[in-house]
């Protein structure tokens, strides 16, 4: 065992990369849940984004087109969820599960010919001088652009929900769809837009996994990342800034356990690999133990179907 081989600078730097897929998916899901919709299909949308982005990037040689296609793929799949829950008024939980099961199958189907291929490398931020500052340079200024896109997205969502009229309407729909409907807001329209935003974010998150983090395509490569994103939204009690905290915390755990595996700690690999999932459970327990605090902040109409009788 050689713990000194773990460099704190690299650890923090790789933590930010590791957290990005989950962060993207979680911030999208936060908007969806704020509109009162519980989409459990994050895992499915993520993996569709992963393969759609991978295929497009390999096909065109451009990671940017890959990311665009990933967002489009995730949004397209989420449209199925929107159609079923908003027009066919199906159960949110069951439909979300269906989305995940279908997404895992479809992605495996789409990805058959892409196993073992390397995707084109995406652009890294490279500012002269600043990126070369010791410690701060590698930690803050020399990442893949997706890391910054994710951070910008968190800030944008925070600003949108807190300071814009659109954000206020979205929150109103999520708190009480009947009241929002009575005020003349288009509940279904708002929710569909939120669902598609969530889908696009999850798709981007998937592509961040297959094009940047891994970068490779393997079947079922999300391995629960979508579910962890869902857990992070609960952990964050539906606050964007805390989604960032949660995602970086989980990124940290994931990276640390990988580093410990590489350093040859005497704990068996399998038990280290369990740790992100176990920590998710522990965090969920701690959060829900202060039930009143967390529950107060959950959107009141979360997961309830809306049907305007008139």
């Amino acid at each position: 065992m050689d713990l000194s081989s773990i460099s704190p600078t690299l650890l923090v730097a790789s933590l930010m990369v590791a957290a990005t897929p989950i962060l993207l998916a979680a911030i999208g899901e936060l908007v969806v849940e704020k509109s009162g919709v519980l989409n459990l299909g994050v895992e499915g949308m993520m993996i569709i984004g992963a393969i759609a982005g991978f295929a497009a990037a390999v096909g065109t040689g451009s990671p940017i087109i890959g990311f665009l296609c990933a967002a489009f793929g995730g949004a397209a799949l989420s449209l199925v969820f929107a159609l079923l829950t908003q027009f066919f008024l199906s159960n949110h939980v069951a439909t979300g599960l269906a989305l995940t099961l279908f997404g895992l199958g479809l992605s495996a189907l789409m990805g058959q010919s892409y196993i073992g291929i390397k995707p084109p490398a995406s652009a890294k931020l490279d500012l002269p001088v600043i990126s070369d500052i010791p410690v701060l340079g590698p930690v803050l200024f020399s990442h893949d652009i997706t890391v910054y896109i994710a951070l910008a997205l968190v800030a944008a969502v925070w600003w949108f929900l807190k300071y814009t009229r659109g954000g206020l309407i979205l929150r109103a729909v999520g708190e009480s769809h009947d009241a929002a409907h009575a005020l003349g807001y288009k509940v279904v329209k708002v929710r569909i837009m939120a669902i598609m935003f969530g889908g696009a974010c999850a798709g981007l998150g998937g592509a961040a996994l297959s094009l940047v983090r891994v970068p490779q395509w393997t079947e079922g490569m999300t391995a629960g990342a979508g579910w962890i994103a869902l857990a992070i939204v609960v952990f964050a009690s539906w606050k964007p800034a805390r989604v960032l905290l949660g995602a970086y915390l989980f990124g940290g755990v994931a990276v640390l356990q990988l580093n410990l595996q590489a350093a040859g700690v005497s704990i068996p690999v399998e038990y280290l690999s369990m740790s992100p999932y176990l920590i998710t459970i522990i965090v969920l327990v701690v959060m829900s133990a202060h039930r009143n605090k967390a529950a107060l902040n959950a959107p009141a109409a979360l997961g309830r179907a809306f049907h305007a009788s008139r």
């Binding site: 099961l101 997404g103 495996a108 189907l109 629960g224 857990a231 369990m274 459970i281």
Partner: protein, 361 residues
């Protein structure tokens, strides 16, 4: 313009019709998918739904229907109880794995002793393993209000890692020349979940699957617990006034489904699969979710849906070897089935009405 009108009571006709129509819609949707993959859609659908039952080799595939259907039915029966009451155990795959590890662990611990008590002990510990694995989300939900969906699902990944650790370490076959995986229980008479009648595919797990269907049917129709489950699902407020203890319901529903999933895993590992290996589980725990919904969360419906889903597994395997249809296509096909079912389900609760020009939108 079409508009929806809520029915005062769910339509019985549509409750039966929706799954049947969903299967047909999936055949069409799946056919389009297969055509997009460059396969003849009619041949693919025939291979999946017709060949396992009536082709020249059907004598081999028909018993497989029971072998593959039994775990699906058993797990889905357990899940349906919770789903009815709004308790979402979606970690059956994990409970299945733990049940298999515990059941096989008992046998491997006493190997090579032969005794009539070994198999019953395996059944007991298989169920117990699944039960305790499901108790983790149950207790966390009742004590802390933790979301059981996320916890039970996270535990699937934990169970998979535990399975890897077991098949590479503790339960590894010492005479296996270093290959991962445990001893083959099919070669260990006292622990082998053998066919009860040769050539029928019926093993002890199939019997348990049938028993669980009957048990669930009686529980729901005749027992107070079943009444509480149905009441909570249909009207949580009414259930509260009727004195239903929601926490006890969570423990019962999760425990019941966990034990059944554990049993299914144990029967699988001691019979058709034979050994604990890294990938002996093939996702029955997730497919069972589709089975439960397709069967309308009703025991008899689940029995039929489980057999149908087993058919798509077997047909999918045949299509894989004869048509070169990728195995993932079947997974997408099964997911599609659930989509169509959920969409058509709307007709159970709502009426489609043509809105006339003068009526409000």
């Amino acid at each position: 313009m079409l508009r929806l009108e809520k029915r005062p009571n769910p339509s019985k006709t549509w409750a039966y019709m929706a799954p049947v129509l969903a299967v047909f819609a999936t055949m069409i949707g799946g056919g389009i998918m297969f055509a997009a993959l460059g396969k003849d859609p009619f041949e693919a659908i025939r291979t999946i739904f017709y060949d396992p039952l009536f082709s020249e080799f059907a004598w081999y595939y028909r018993p497989q229907l029971l072998v593959k259907g039994a775990p699906l039915i058993m797990i889905a029966i357990g899940l349906s109880m919770g789903f009815r009451a709004g308790i979402w155990n979606i970690g059956a795959e994990g409970q299945y794995i733990i049940g298999a590890i515990c059941g096989a662990g008992v046998a491997l611990a006493v190997y090579p002793a032969q005794s009539a008590f070994i198999f019953p002990a395996m059944i007991f510990f298989g169920a117990l393993g699944g039960f305790f694995w499901a108790m983790i989300p149950a207790v966390l939900k009742t004590k802390f209000g933790t979301n059981e969906i996320l916890v039970s699902l996270m535990l699937v990944y934990v169970a998979e890692q535990l399975l890897a650790s077991m098949s590479l370490g503790l339960l590894k076959n010492p005479e296996g020349f270093g290959f991962p995986g445990s001893r083959n229980l099919q070669q260990y008479a006292s622990a082998h979940n053998a066919e009860l009648w040769t050539g029928t595919g019926i093993h002890m797990g199939v019997m348990f699957a049938f028993i669980s269907v009957i048990f669930a049917y009686v529980l729901l129709a005749r027992h107070q617990m079943g009444f509480h489950i149905r009441l909570t699902g249909e009207s949580p407020k009414a259930a509260k006034f009727a004195g239903v203890n929601p926490k006890r319901l969570v423990v019962y529903c999760l425990g019941f489904s966990g034990a059944l999933a554990g049993l299914a895993g144990m029967f699988e590992v001691s019979g058709p699969s034979g050994q604990i290996s890294i990938d002996f589980n093939v996702g029955y725990g997730f497919t069972a979710i589709i089975v439960a919904f397709l069967g309308r969360l009703h025991p008899i419906g689940i029995l039929l849906a489980g057999l149908l889903m087993a058919l798509t597994y077997i047909g999918g395997e045949i299509a894989q070897s004869s048509l070169g249809l990728p195995s993932a296509a079947i997974q997408a096909f099964q997911g599609m089935l659930l989509f169509f079912l959920l969409a058509l389900d709307m007709l159970t609760n709502f009426k489609l009405k043509l809105a006339s020009a003068g009526s409000p939108p």
